[in-house]
């Protein structure tokens, strides 16, 4: 064994392009065992990782006699924990047995960490080492102890930046997998909340977790999520978007069929409805599936506010969706094809304004819409300091100056502004972006066929929506197929106590959500004086 290693070592020291490097490459099934001597193991690690200086290797003696070595990744492992609970603890050991028991005793006593286990081959060892665990080698054993010392630098939990709410919790997911799972676990303290984890990405080895509530989530959907995730065979997973694009039902659609959010309270409510959450290390966005269309118009506050307010706001939001979808198209159709449909006085007003405009309505609308989209895109990625300049220039371009120059009519400016504001009212960005894309298609149809074009475009959209599925659940449920019981949470948000059942099709079994008589009533023996 030693001879073999020496030969191998000699060869590799001179030959830089050796086949060791392929060890970590995708698709290599090698399962090489560890070496006998601690020193050899650490040398091998250094060699394999190209002497990267963030890999810290330290030789030490356990109980002043047994040769050992530790290795960890600086920055990912908590060096305080290592020095206190591994190094110091190893030194302080007084009575160590001899022979084969050393390893067991060292594992049980000398390493004073919560999570300790054994590794026997390199393929297990490297991922642990590189995710912040500390590896302890002991002379004379072809196995090592790995201790959980993970303590990487992470961002503190902060407020969500994408889905704000006035009322409701202010914490958001972070880039750390463990923080994210803890944020969910903290809200649902049920033993039935299960977390399955796996590593996806041959090179990145990203932690991905599936979370669901056993007994509420539909087993078939959980299984479907599992198989779709296992199918992924890629080198890297850098963001939840990678996973989303690889597991969604249909690629060729503008509609999102997987929901993503950075709010733990949304994910918890989804879990309680029987959905499955997918947590990906390295991103604050957690996925939830299956997703239905109407869900993208529901904001968290719909459930925190009282039902009448929530309903009014929800209806407003759906109206805003339609405005942002069709407002420019309707303007084009009215001015190009159906002038007779505009009330006379208004028609005269519009015609008077459009008199000096050199473009047909469609081109006018297109110019303004594209200008606006460019402004928005520019504003999104600019360094913050320049932001103000953009907004000033933007206000001038879409507003006053364009009208004064006679390039566009004031009505057009109003239409574009209303469209833009309505688009911002959509609570989820995923569907807001979809609306932006479809709006242009409808504008073209309106310019060529008027209302007929818009109507056919919308019917086409509805047919398409009805043909979509998200993890087997029809995308338009509970509207099509129409499920009477679930209408309580579609356009109108019924009082909370009336949500007696979980959404059908999503939660399969254990449909019942609450006990009887949840409707609040004033108590009979209450204070009736005054």
């Amino acid at each position: 064994m030693l001879n073999w290693f020496k030969k191998e070592k000699r060869k590799t020291k001179f030959d830089k392009n050796d086949n060791f490097r392929q060890r970590l490459d995708p698709g290599d099934p090698k399962n090489l065992p560890l070496f006998n001597k601690a020193q050899d193991n650490t040398d091998y690690i250094k060699h394999e990782l190209g002497n990267s200086n963030d890999i810290v290797v330290r030789q030490l003696l356990i109980a002043n006699k047994i040769k050992a070595a530790i290795a960890y990744t600086d920055g990912l492992a908590d060096s305080k924990v290592i020095s206190q609970f591994i190094v110091e603890s190893a030194h302080e050991q007084t009575d160590m047995p001899v022979g084969k028991e050393i390893f067991q005793v060292a594992k049980e006593r000398a390493v004073a960490l919560g999570d300790v286990s054994e590794v026997t081959n390199w393929d297990q060892l490297f991922p642990s080492l590189l995710s912040g665990e500390t590896i302890i080698f002991i002379d004379g054993f072809q196995k090592a102890i790995k201790g959980d010392t993970r303590g990487e630098e992470k961002r503190a939990i902060s407020e969500p930046t994408t889905q704000l709410s006035i009322r409701g919790p202010k914490d958001a997911f972070t880039e750390s997998f463990r923080t994210n799972t803890s944020l969910i676990r903290r809200r649902i303290k049920s033993p039935n909340l299960w977390l399955e984890s796996m590593k996806i990405g041959k090179v990145t080895q990203t932690d991905v977790g599936i979370m669901y509530i056993k007994g509420i989530a539909n087993e078939k959907i959980v299984e479907e999520v599992r198989t779709r995730l296992k199918r992924i065979n890629m080198d890297s997973i850098l963001e939840s978007g990678y996973i989303e694009q690889l597991i969604e039902d249909q690629t060729f659609t503008v509609f999102p069929t997987v929901y993503h959010t950075e709010r733990p309270d949304i994910i918890c409510s989804h879990l309680l409805e029987g959905r499955v959450a997918i947590i990906i290390d390295g991103t604050p966005f957690v996925l939830s599936a299956p997703a239905v269309f109407i869900q993208f118009f529901h904001a968290v506050e719909d459930y925190y506010d009282r039902f009448d307010i929530a309903t009014a706001i929800r209806l407003l939001r759906i109206l805003a969706f339609f405005i942002s979808l069709v407002a420019p198209a309707i303007y084009i159709a009215l001015t190009t094809f159906h002038q007779e449909m505009i009330p006379t006085t208004m028609a005269i007003a519009i015609a008077a304004q459009r008199e000096g405009v050199p473009f047909p309505a469609f081109i006018e609308a297109l110019i303004m819409e594209i200008t606006f989209e460019i402004l928005r895109e520019a504003g999104l990625r600019l360094p913050r300091a320049v932001g103000q300049a953009v907004s000033i220039v933007g206000a001038l371009v879409i507003g006053q100056a364009a009208v004064q120059a006679g390039l566009v009519s004031p009505v057009m400016v109003i239409v574009v502004s209303i469209t833009a504001i309505a688009n911002f009212a959509t609570p989820t960005f995923a569907i807001a972006i979809t609306t932006r894309v479809m709006r242009f298609g409808l504008m073209v149809l309106a310019a060529s066929f008027g209302f007929y074009g818009i109507l056919l475009g919308l019917i086409f959209m509805i047919v398409h929506l009805c043909s979509l599925r998200s993890f087997g659940v029809p995308y338009m449920a509970p509207l099509a197929p129409f499920i009477v019981d679930n209408q309580k949470d579609v356009f109108i948000r019924f009082p909370l106590w009336s949500f007696k059942t979980r959404p059908r099709l999503i939660a399969d079994e254990n449909i019942k959500r609450m006990g009887e008589n949840q409707q609040p009533r004033p108590s009979k023996g209450g204070n009736k004086d005054g």
């Binding site: 008027g450 007929y452 509805i462 047919v463 509207l479």
Partner: protein, 369 residues
């Protein structure tokens, strides 16, 4: 044997499809115009006849719950004759789909799109329908559920606006039965029975996709009742607003009625309501005939991949709709004088009844032997 059992629709979806189908094109034209102010009675009579016809189709479905019309005609009449009957039905469905498409194309060209070629208008409509049918009857049915709500919201708000504008003059509906009972019956038999109620024969192709067969009868009859009442109310309102004379002369009386709406000096010219209804109704009427033609063809020619038939048959419907008649008057005359007697009667009434007799005899022999 071709599998129709792959896709399933629910009783609600069947109900919605029947209602949208029945109301599809019949609400926009002047139905039973020869009965003048009694058009609505002729429609109700037609509906009663429609019940009878549906019971015939339903009885056939009970004999062969897994088979479509083209499937059981082979079982009943033998392979050769059955295939000929099936083939005739396919052509019938394609032809009627093309007729409806022509109706809608002409409607649009006449009302708003004077300068747009008919072919373009029809092609655009057909494109959307081909997409829907390509996606399957399940998707068409789900789309139906969504648009059903839209149609009803539009219809109810239109109804309220008509009343609020003070357009209704009930004296237009009098005198009752002016033309006599016989004349009304004649209109019923030549028009309202076959169009739209007899067209339910197309659902003989769709019934096997129902996931709960025992509801077929109830759902079908309820849907016919609802759509019949809706059509009758609409026509009665048309007559009440326009008067019997204008009603029988207007090519699209509902459009004339709607364009009379003037409310609060702002809500007027609501032609877009009519357009919305016409496009949705046309979509389902053409779509269902088209789907029946597609699955019928797949069955007769033993073709496994049904979706692949959508495009060719869709194109055929599109071109037939253009070449079917040289002008709109010709199209209308064909539709009123020739189609009901020589096409609707045999395909909707005579052949199904003969098939039912055949099925009865065959099954009786089977049980006795």
């Amino acid at each position: 044997m071709y599998e129709v059992n792959k896709v399933k629709i629910s009783p609600t979806q069947l109900f919605v499809l029947i209602v949208l189908f029945e109301m599809g094109s019949s609400i926009v034209v002047s139905l039973g115009a020869e009965a003048k102010q009694d058009a609505w009675i002729a429609i109700l009579f037609g509906m009663a006849g429609g019940f009878g016809l549906y019971l015939v189709y339903h009885r056939l479905y009970m004999y062969y719950p897994d088979l479509t019309l083209t499937g059981y005609s082979k079982k009943i009449a033998g392979k050769l004759v059955g295939n000929i009957i099936s083939f005739l039905y396919i052509i019938y469905f394609i032809y009627i789909a093309a007729r409806v498409l022509r109706d809608f194309g002409e409607l649009l060209v006449m009302t708003s799109y004077t300068f747009t070629p008919l072919l373009i208008i029809n092609a655009l409509m057909m494109l959307v329908i081909i997409y829907a049918v390509y996606k399957g009857i399940e998707v068409v049915a789900r789309t139906g559920e969504l648009l059903f709500l839209v149609v009803y919201i539009v219809a109810i708000s239109g109804f309220i606006l008509i009343i609020a504008s003070g357009l209704i003059d009930l004296s237009n509906l009098k005198p009752f039965m002016e033309t006599g009972f016989v004349a009304v019956i004649k209109v019923t038999l030549t028009q309202t029975l076959t169009f739209p109620f007899g067209e339910m024969v197309v659902f003989a192709m769709l019934l096997p996709t129902l996931n709960k067969p025992k509801y077929a009868k109830k759902v079908g009859l309820m849907a016919i009742l609802l759509s019949g009442i809706n059509i009758a109310i609409t026509m009665a309102i048309n007559v009440a607003v326009l008067g019997p004379d204008l009603y029988s002369r207007a090519p699209f009386p509902l459009l004339t009625t709607i364009s009379k709406i003037e409310f609060a000096e702002f809500i007027e010219r609501l032609d877009v309501f009519f357009l919305l209804y016409a496009v949705i109704g046309g979509f389902f009427k053409i779509g269902i005939f088209f789907y029946a033609a597609v699955i019928g063809t797949a069955e007769v020619f033993n073709f496994k991949e049904t979706e692949k038939l959508c495009f060719p048959i869709g194109i055929i419907i599109l071109f037939v709709s253009i070449s079917i008649a040289a002008s709109y008057p010709e199209h209308i005359i064909e539709g009123l004088d020739i189609v009901p007697i020589y096409l609707h009667w045999p395909m909707q009434i005579i052949i199904p009844i003969l098939l039912l007799i055949g099925a009865y005899l065959r099954n009786r022999n089977k049980t006795s032997a």
